[in-house]
């Protein structure tokens, strides 16, 4: 082999190396074209399968649409929701107290793949629960996860359908015939979400911003971490501020003519030492008459203004003040409850009556969208 041959070989080698490097670089430079990057799904061989997506998104997509805090909203509308939604699903929603969180949009979530999500999530939970346990002494043998779609809650064209998740488990020593017990429930929903915002999301994203859970905190954390890994999203606690609680007070009181709210109960907490809890339960008819004097029922305008809501709350606080000389505004409004439901400032709600569920969920969806980091 002469000198020339060696040169040719070297040249060939460098050429191939160069080609190889270019190919590698092309793979790595997909940051600028996020939507076109396919998601790789890998199945690990030791039986633990989960969907892994490379994460490019450090920003929530759709951040360019600005969400405005509304100053007015429509009055609470009653609708027999059981016409649109399966009554069994509605019964599940009305039963429990739900803890609220918000979720950023889900990447590549498909309503058609719910069965496979069920399998993946249950395998994930079992694997996580067995971590660090040397001998299998777990009290719960297996977890059965069911994802189901609750059709009919979505209101406008851009709302995604609600997804309901149920986790059942069967204790190890239970008899074969025993039905597995439901240990955790959760649902993701979007009702009357802001149209501009939803339309501004890239096509692979589904927005179901409101997440309601009921069950042990350990399972909630596991479900959240599975979602975070599978769909590249983030969760956050959705606390309800006093404005939201004020809206609910007014909206629910306004429903009294069509649906007896039984009582209007407001709870404040004053920062004294020790803290003082004040609960004011107003007769529903009297509360409604006060609301009606501020926002007459016969008015053609179907919308309620924030000033009217503020007036209503001020009226109640003023009546209280005339008797007790205590400034309720020195404390925080902590809980509102009527027969239609209750809402707590820590982000806990209870749905009492399914007829007004749409109004409540619209308000909460809006809170979730506003709370998400831009």
């Amino acid at each position: 082999m002469g000198k020339r041959d060696v040169q040719i070989i070297f040249l060939l080698y460098f050429f191939l190396l160069g080609v190889f490097l270019i190919i590698m670089e092309r793979r790595g430079s997909a940051v600028n074209t996020p939507a076109s990057r396919p998601v790789t799904r890998r199945s690990k061989s030791y039986g633990r399968s989960c969907v892994e997506a490379p994460s490019y998104f450090w920003q929530t997509p759709g951040h360019l649409a600005v969400l405005k805090i509304p100053n007015s909203r429509g009055t609470a509308k009653s609708q027999t929701i059981t016409n649109k939604v399966d009554p069994e699903h509605i019964a599940l929603l009305v039963k429990n107290e739900w803890k609220l969180s918000y979720i950023t949009p889900l990447h590549h979530f498909r309503h058609t793949r719910l069965k496979s999500y069920s399998k993946h999530l249950s395998a994930f939970i079992v694997a996580e629960k067995q971590q660090g346990v040397a001998v299998e002494v777990g009290l719960e043998a297996g977890f059965k996860v069911t994802f189901s779609a609750v059709l009919g809650l979505a209101e406008n064209d851009e709302d995604a359908e609600t997804v309901f998740i149920q986790i059942q488990s069967k204790p190890v020593f239970a008899a074969v015939a025993d039905a597995p017990k439901v240990v955790w429930r959760g649902w993701l929903t979007c009702v009357n979400g802001d149209l501009e915002y939803l339309r501004s999301l890239p096509p692979d994203f589904v927005s179901l911003p409101l997440f309601c859970t009921s069950g042990p905190e350990s399972l909630t954390t596991l479900v959240k971490s599975w979602f975070e890994r599978a769909f590249d999203c983030n969760f956050g606690c959705l606390a309800l501020n006093s404005t939201t609680l004020n809206w609910l007070t007014a909206l629910w009181t306004g429903c009294h003519p069509t649906c007896n709210i039984r009582h209007l109960k407001l709870a404040w907490s004053l920062p004294t030492q020790p803290p003082l809890d004040v609960s004011y339960t107003v007769n529903p008819q009297d509360a409604w008459e006060l609301w009606n004097s501020i926002h007459p029922e016969e008015s053609t305008d179907d919308r309620i203004d924030i000033q009217e809501v503020q007036s209503f709350i001020n009226g109640l606080e003023a009546h209280f003040f005339r008797h007790f000389k205590i400034f309720l505004s020195a404390g925080t409004l902590v809980k509102v409850s009527t027969a239609l439901g209750s809402a707590h400032v820590d982000g806990k709600i209870k749905i009492g009556n399914s007829d007004y569920i749409t109004t409540l969920l619209t308000l909460l969806t809006e809170c979730a969208l506003l709370k998400m980091p831009a």
């Binding site: 004294t272 030492q273 007769n283």
Partner: protein
């Protein structure tokens, strides 16, 4: 010992934390010194219960002894359960002359006369309180020792404190008290709390009402730290002093009786701000206000002292301490009166 006696004994022992059982058993004085030494209080509760039960069987103790133990437990721990206050009225001329023996005789005689099966135990405590334990039966069944009523009364005061009384027995107990104390009638005191100590302090005025100047200097230091600028502190000090004085006048200074709740039933006309259509209404704006806290009077006092409540303290709140009650029905004095609301008896 029969089954009922054993279950009463078991219930008493199970309620007490292990470290307090020894003192209680010593006070009871029904177990011998050897038996007391033999008990190991580090064992699980069920073992202690078993041991004590077997010692009681050995000593052939009966229902009387066990109910005595239960009474001692309640006297030592008066702040369990819910207590209600009642007030005796229309004292007859010889009411002041009633002594303990007379009271006991009359009380027992009346109850034995009206209720066929009943078990009454009366004990006088060092602090002049008479403790009464009543296990109620009826014409057909023996007294139920698992649900006894407890009554506490200080002779020559007009208050009676009752815990765990069923509605159907109320009339008998009230009659007996009225007769035994030589009063004309008894009425509901509208005060209920978990702590008997708090109730006694409030009604028998055992806690300190105001002499504010001495206490103010202490609290002044508490507030002083809040303001970094001495000029601001100086401006505020006069207002603080006034607020503090008002709070002490209404709620006393120093530790207050530990009430937990106060309930006001409002039946007054609407008094919101500037809402004319509603203010002209004849009907009442009904509602129920409930204040609750781990120590209600401390919270209310802090409320006034810090400015969250405007002074002078409204009579609705100061009535808690002045009148010694925590349930009120507030009505307007009459039609046409626009600004005053008065606290009236329910």
């Amino acid at each position: 010992m029969d089954a009922q006696v054993r279950s009463v004994l078991r219930r008493v022992i199970q309620r007490i934390p292990n470290k307090n059982i020894e003192n209680l058993l010593k006070k009871w004085n029904c177990l011998s010194a050897d038996q007391l030494c033999a008990l190991d209080y580090t064992r699980p509760k069920w073992m202690i219960v078993e041991q004590v039960t077997s010692f009681c069987e050995e000593n052939r103790l009966n229902l009387k002894h066990i109910t005595n133990l239960e009474m001692i437990y309640h006297i030592e721990n008066p702040d369990k359960g819910v207590w209600h206050a009642c007030q005796l009225t229309e004292a007859q001329d010889d009411a002041v002359g009633v002594d303990l023996t007379q009271f006991k005789e009359q009380f027992k005689a009346h109850l034995h006369g009206v209720v066929r099966h009943i078990s009454i135990k009366i004990k006088k405590h060092e602090d002049e309180a008479i403790w009464i334990r009543i296990a109620w039966g009826d014409n057909f069944s023996k007294p139920n020792h698992l649900k006894p009523t407890y009554v506490v009364h200080h002779l020559h005061t007009s208050y009676v404190f009752i815990s765990n009384l069923m509605a159907k027995h109320k009339i008998f107990l009230c009659q007996a008290l009225v007769i035994a104390t030589k009063h004309g009638s008894i009425k509901d005191g509208h005060l209920s709390t978990r702590s008997l100590t708090a109730m006694r302090e409030l009604l028998l005025r055992r806690y300190q009402q105001v002499t504010y100047p001495a206490m103010f200097t202490v609290t002044k230091h508490l507030f002083a730290g809040l303001f970094t600028d001495p000029c601001i502190g100086k401006e505020h000090s006069e207002h603080e002093e006034m607020r503090y004085q008002m709070s002490c006048e209404a709620f006393g200074h120093g530790p207050t009786p530990k009430l937990e709740t106060a309930v006001y039933r409002l039946e007054t006309r609407y008094r919101g701000n500037g809402n004319h259509t509603l203010s002209d209404r004849e009907e009442f704006f009904r509602g129920v206000v409930r204040f609750s806290s781990s120590s209600l009077l401390d919270s209310l006092r802090h409320c006034v002292a810090s400015g969250m409540a405007e002074g002078p303290v409204t009579p609705l709140l100061s009535a808690i301490t002045q009148r010694g009650r925590n349930y009120f029905v507030i009505t307007d004095k009459g039609p046409g009166v626009s600004s005053q609301a008065s606290a009236q008896r329910a």
